[in-house]
Structure formats: structure tokens, C-alpha cells
Symmetry: C2
Subunit: 360 residues, 2 copies
């Protein structure tokens, strides 16, 4: 719908065609352990079953599914990585079970419906990349009514945080603007053209880049200055595109650190492998990308910095109205908006502030 395939390939799929990038995902222990355990601790979901792996990449999930006893695995991959997946399938002796199909899942025809859809579709802050659209498409077309989704559930989280990144980015922004002012003066002196009329546009461009783009970061848990909130829960068996096209949530974050700054918010996700209610998992597995001192993931957290960062105290509450929409220019990127009010423990309520971000 409206998406140019060539452009989508140039902007999105291209990176997945590199083994370097697949390796990054395959080296993420938290991610790998979760999928591995979800499959091998729940072999009843795979034994003699037909599985569809949406976006098989290197083929890893398809191979595990086969090793766990699947009768047949359709492993669909949009990029040339499909060739490598095929090699890997053969080298690991599961070519009789796994069929690698190069193509977009949206375009692919399967000869039968499937018992399981397994997919690693999660982007930064869960929904970046909008790949779950493709999983929904696959589910609605190819999953048997009794089928299960791997993962089965997903949640989005937000927490209030402190971070040195705020000052850093503000410094970067200010030095970019100083630089610009020198540039304007020099260009006028040396080349007789006054660029000052573009100062406003340059400021906006740099604000967007340094201050209004979310950052990838693996936060330490002690950077959280309050209790995280769940802002979205999703049942992968029933979720619709309508439901994820826009995520809005109102919530309150209790501050539990005294005399600190609210540098901003961090967003992350977890997913669960629980099977379905008719066909539950034997062992429920969780994949969690929250701030952690040990179990970092390649997803990290998305950090949304506030400028200036308000001072907060233990007992304060931050009342947040959140929304996330797809960017108009690129449906795989997100526009995020936070409107927050500080409710101080004294009862005083500060006026609401709105901050907009893009997830690039």
C-alpha cells in the first residue's frame, strides 16, 4: 500500500543482505537464548508440525525448528541472504525439512497452512521497521486457526531516566551552532554572500538531529529514576495493523530517586513465548530488552532526551501522554510525542511540556 519496493529495499532491506548484520543479531546472547529456549523447551509445538519462519535471515530459527522436530519449515527471506540460509540449511543437514524461499512474505505462495509462525521481527522500541505488519500478513494468510505464534506476546515499556547524554547532545548542538555563526561571518567576508537568513533553518535541522532524534543506548538500571510503565500490550495472535499503526498511552511514572534530573525517557520492549491458550507453552520464555547491568541486547533502549531536563525528587510523579506514529516519509520510522506534567510530592503541578522526537 503506497510503499515503493525499490525505495524500501534501498532504505531498509539492504542492511539485512550483509552477513555482518546478521552476525550482530546472531551474537546477541539474550536474543539467541530466548528463541533457542522457546523452541527447544517447547518441542511439542514443533514436533511433526509445519512451521513458517517470516524473515529467516541466516536461517537460524528455521534450522532450530527443524532440529526440534518440525515436519516442514518454510523459511522466507526477502534479501539475497536467502542464498546463505540455503547453504546453512544444507550444511546442518536439515534440507529435507527446511525450504528456503527468497521473496517478500507478502508475495510468497505456500502449498499449505502452517501450525507455527516463528519470526524475529522486533525493531528498536518494538515497532521500528514496521516488520510486524509482514508477520500479521503471514498470520492472516497462512496460520491454521489452531496455530501458535512465536513470540506470542509483546509489550512496550517506558521509564524516566537520568543520563549524561543530555548535556552531551546539547553541547554538540551548541558547538554546531557556533560553527555556523563563524561560517556565516566567513562566507560574508570572503565571498560576499550573507547566509544569516538560513540560521533558523540550520538551527532546526540541528535541533532535529542532535536534540529531537531518539538515541540508541544500553542504560544501566541505576539510570532509571522511577518505576517503568507498560504502555502497550499485544497478543501476536490477534493484533491488527490498525492497532500498531499508532500507539497512544497515558500513564504516570513515580520518581523514586531524590534530587535528580529527569534527563528523559527510555523506551524498550519485551516479548513472551507462551504459545496459545488452547496450546500453551510447557515452559514460558521471555525476551527482555530492559536496562540491565548484565543482559544487554543489540536493541538497547531508545532514549528520548528532554531539553532542559527538569529537576525531580523522590515522590514526584511524571504524568505522561504518549503517542507514536509512523513517519510520513518512511513508514518504517516513527514520530514520537511526549506531553508530560510534573506533579511534585508537595502537590504542586507544573505546566505541561510537549517534546517531539523521531526514531530514525
Amino acid at each position: 500500500g503506497g510503499v515503493d519496493k525499490g525505495v524500501d529495499f534501498a532504505n531498509y532491506f539492504c542492511t539485512y543482505a550483509f552477513l555482518y548484520h546478521q552476525k550482530e543479531m546472531l551474537s546477541d546472547r539474550v536474543r539467541m537464548d530466548a528463541y533457542f529456549n522457546s523452541v527447544f523447551q517447547n518441542k511439542h509445538h514443533f514436533h511433526n508440525k509445519v512451521v513458517l519462519d517470516v524473515g529467516t535471515g541466516s536461517g537460524i530459527l528455521a534450522i532450530w525448528s527443524a532440529q526440534a522436530g518440525a515436519r516442514k519449515v518454510y523459511a522466507v527471506e526477502a534479501t539475497k541472504m536467502a542464498d546463505h540460509a540455503r547453504q546453512l540449511v544444507e550444511a546442518n543437514g536439515v534440507m529435507d525439512v527446511v525450504e528456503v524461499i527468497e521473496g517478500s512474505i507478502e508475495d510468497v505462495d505456500l502449498p499449505e497452512k502452517v501450525d507455527v509462525i516463528i519470526s524475529e521481527w522486533m525493531g528498536y522500541f518494538l515497532l521500528r521497521e514496521s516488520m510486524f505488519d509482514s508477520v500479521i500478513c503471514a498470520r492472516d494468510r497462512w496460520l491454521k486457526p489452531t496455530g501458535v505464534m512465536y513470540p506470542s506476546h509483546a509489550r512496550m515499556w517506558i521509564a524516566p531516566i537520568r543520563s549524561g547524554l543530555g548535556d552531551q547532545k546539547m553541547n554538540d548542538f551548541e558547538s554546531a551552532m557556533n560553527d555556523w555563526r563563524n561560517f556565516v561571518a566567513d562566507t560574508d567576508t570572503n565571498y560576499g554572500v550573507n547566509m544569516n537568513v538560513l540560521t533558523k533553518a540550520y538551527r532546526e535541522e540541528n535541533q532535529k538531529y542532535f536534540l529531537k532524534t531518539s538515541l540508541w543506548n544500553n542504560l544501566h538500571p541505576n539510570q532509571m529514576v522511577g518505576t517503568p510503565a507498560i504502555i502497550k500490550e499485544m497478543d501476536c495472535l490477534t493484533a491488527t495493523i490498525e492497532e500498531i499503526r499508532e500507539v497512544t498511552s497515558n500513564f504516570s511514572l513515580g520518581i523514586n530517586v531524590d534530587r535528580t534530573r529527569l534527563s528523559g525517557f527510555a523506551g524498550w520492549f519485551d516479548v513472551h513465548f507462551r504459545g496459545s491458550s488452547q496450546n500453551p507453552a510447557m515452559h514460558e520464555i521471555e525476551l527482555n530488552t530492559a536496562p540491565s547491568s548484565e543482559d544487554c541486547t543489540h536493541w538497547g533502549q531508545q532514549v528520548f532526551l528532554l531539553h532542559p531536563p527538569p529537576r525531580v525528587n523522590e515522590g514526584d510523579a511524571v504524568i505522561v501522554s504518549f503517542s507514536m506514529r509512523r513517519s510520513k516519509e518512511n513508514h518504517r520510522l516513527m514520530d514520537v510525542e511526549f506531553t508530560y506534567e510534573l506533579q511534585q510530592s508537595t502537590g504542586k503541578r507544573l505546566p505541561p511540556v510537549t517534546s517531539k522526537f523521531s526514531i530514525e
Copy 2:
């Protein structure tokens, strides 16, 4: 011809829509001085004349043309930068002369033919970006038979060089491969999948990335170990797309440093502003991007590293057969091939070696 506009925008034009990038070009003193002097030291080419600026970006060349006395300037820019160019034109009081037109030069209709085409179309190693195609298109459609091109001539150069980058990139490559071997072992141990079958593909991917992609570098002149050669000369008034689609050249590089290594080759360009033979410049101006201890440009040089780097001595000659073609996947990027033979001063001639690179 065959180029998807949306993809071209995603891959190429998008960067030019940022003031940050325009500023980088506008801060390149060597570039700016050359164009500035070419215009203001040759006002007879502009006075009362009609000018077309192909890819006006911020509008700088169009504004100079107006300041130098042009009667009318058409300033065509494919990206939204056109809005900023318009602002700059107004702020500098030349809105009666300069008309900014947003669009691809290929699609634009002008009400009249022009006396001058000015354009800053040069990419790394002259032809990367393939923007000269658009200048040719503009020239053939809009330049009067008596018209002049700014710049009027262009040349491509190659020199033999020494550089620490060769060892550095080889180290990077080797550590990537060590990393991969550990990864293969770990994945087998922890997750029961043997990835070794992909080692060859991973090596090729990393060779391409670390060893077979040309590098941007501002070399010091003392890194040249021999005499540079001109591999291509172009008259901008008569050059055809056929002529630049593929550049081939056979040449010999005399080594003038003793007991050194030939780390590779460096490629760069210069352009000249000489007007035309009927209507020559009063003051010929040169824009040179050769290795220089003082006059570095944002183009730097493109470095093509040889692995392993052969030892060479004063008096040796490197006999080179060179070709550059557009990449099949992206017509704005280039595939380069060097076949070289070392002719030692003793008369001994070593067997030919071929190295392929891409300019990304």
C-alpha cells in the same frame, strides 16, 4: 533510462537536502575560491548574460553569477534545498535576476537558451555520483551554440602512493575474520548450528568492505612515491555520456622514492575554467584536488590499496591498465580495476596483478 527516481532520491539526493552537507561544500575554501575567482575574474562571461546553474544547492553559484552582472540566472535544484536557495537569493537582493526552480534538470523547461552553464557536479575522483550526465543533458538542451561551460575542462589523475592505511585495513580485516571464527565456534557450542559453511561468504563480504573499497583520504604530497599520470581529459563543451560511462587508460608511473612500498594508487581530479575557444576566459582558474599539505578539499583523494603492497625502488616503473565503470546496482557508484606490472630498474618485469575496487 532505467533509474528509479525514488531509489535515486533515497540513495543519492537525500543528503543534499541537508544544510549540514551544503555547508561542508560551502566551507571548502579551495572549491569556493576557485568558483568565486572564476566568476569574478571573468565578469565578461556573466555581464548581461543568461546563466543556468545546474544543481544550485544553497544557490551560491547563482548568486555570484547575479552579482557578476548576469541578466538572468536559472538556478535548478532537485531537492527541497531549493527553498533555502530561494531565501538566500532574496536575502542577498538578487531575486530580480535569480529564478530558483525546484526539479530535476532533466525535467525542467526553461523559456530561453543560456549563455553560460555553471555547475559544481564533481564527485569523488571526478565521476562518482554521475552528476555530469545531468550537466551534459542541460548543455545539449539549453546552451546556446556560442555558450560557455563553468568549469570548461576536467582531468583525472592517478599516482602511486605509500600509506599506513594498507596495514590498518588489513588488520581490521584480519580481526573481523578472527572474530568470525570465534563466533562460529560459539554458535556451534551454544546453539547447535555450524556456521562454518558461511566463512567463505563472510570473508568475501569483509574483503570487499575492508580491502576492495576505495577510501577517502587527504594525502600528504610526500606520500606520493612517483609521478602522477593524467588518465582522462575532458572538454565539458563536447564530452558525451558515452565518453564518461567507462574510463579506460594505460599508463606508466615512474617510481621516484627508493626502498619503499607501493601501498596503492590515489585518484583525484582537477577542473579548469577557461571559457571556450571563441570566448576564452580573461583569467584561467584551476580547481585542483591533488594531495597537498595546505590546500585540502572535501573531495580529498580516493585511495585504492594493494594487498599485499609490492616493494618498489627508485627507477622502477609501474605499468598500469586502468578501467572504471558504473556499478550495475547503482549507476552513481563505480567499479574500478587496476592491472599493474612492476618493471624494475634492473629490467626485470614481474607478472601482472589485477585488483578490483568499488567506489562507494
